[in-house]
Assembly symmetry: C2
Amino acid sequence: MTTTAPNALVQGTLDLVILKTLSWGPRHGYAIARWIESTTDDALRIEEGSLYPALYRMQHRRWIAAEWGESHEGRRIKLYSLTPKGRTELRAQTARWGDCVVAMAKVLQSA
Amino acid sequence: MTTTAPNALVQGTLDLVILKTLSWGPRHGYAIARWIESTTDDALRIEEGSLYPALYRMQHRRWIAAEWGESHEGRRIKLYSLTPKGRTELRAQTARWGDCVVAMAKVLQSA
DNA sequence: TAGCGTACCTAGAACGTCTAGGCAACTACT
DNA sequence: AGTAGTTGCCTAGACGTTCTAGGTACGCTA
């Protein structure tokens, strides 16, 4: 990770990608970031300074729940999982994102 | 404007839609907002408290230029137009938005 | 034992947007 | 003549999210 490629992520979408990541099952913070980066071929880069505050926020809103655990290598990890409320939020934010994309397309493809 | 429909706009896209609007020719602030709202069937709502600071910012960055004029009804208006730098920025931000949409699609459609 | 990767976290700044006002002039209705 | 609605511009301050730039600790490998 030596390159400084511009991050394509637009403010407000971090919560959505985290929710989506967790919809495949519980993961810990660091793994969430790595999964998103590899899934998007590094187009979305998740800074830790954004990630952990976001996780804290989402936990506070009861979208996700945390639990301390241990990795295969014996490291302590904090496993996050989606709550029912988080699942609802995921649906809502996915729809909202779709609306945004549609609206932007109307503007950008206008003639 | 009595309804309180949720705004589909995601932070960071306001500049892009303004640039795009001005690519069709000079317009004044109020007209920019109305054009975007009507083009997107009110999906994107442009608050004046966001619009004018954005216009100020973009003017400061030399993406747009302003000129005082007069409307048909004799009202004073501030006409904004795209500068060459703004045109470059429009291309860049359009590409960036495309990247973001692609990356988000990878995450949201992942299996 | 030094270095790298994993894994967590925080404080403070930066940035963009929204809330909630204010001002002025024109238009239309009463 | 008064007043309500619309057009049109603007600002201060709050707010929320993200980034910068740190810090800590442990496991693995050379």
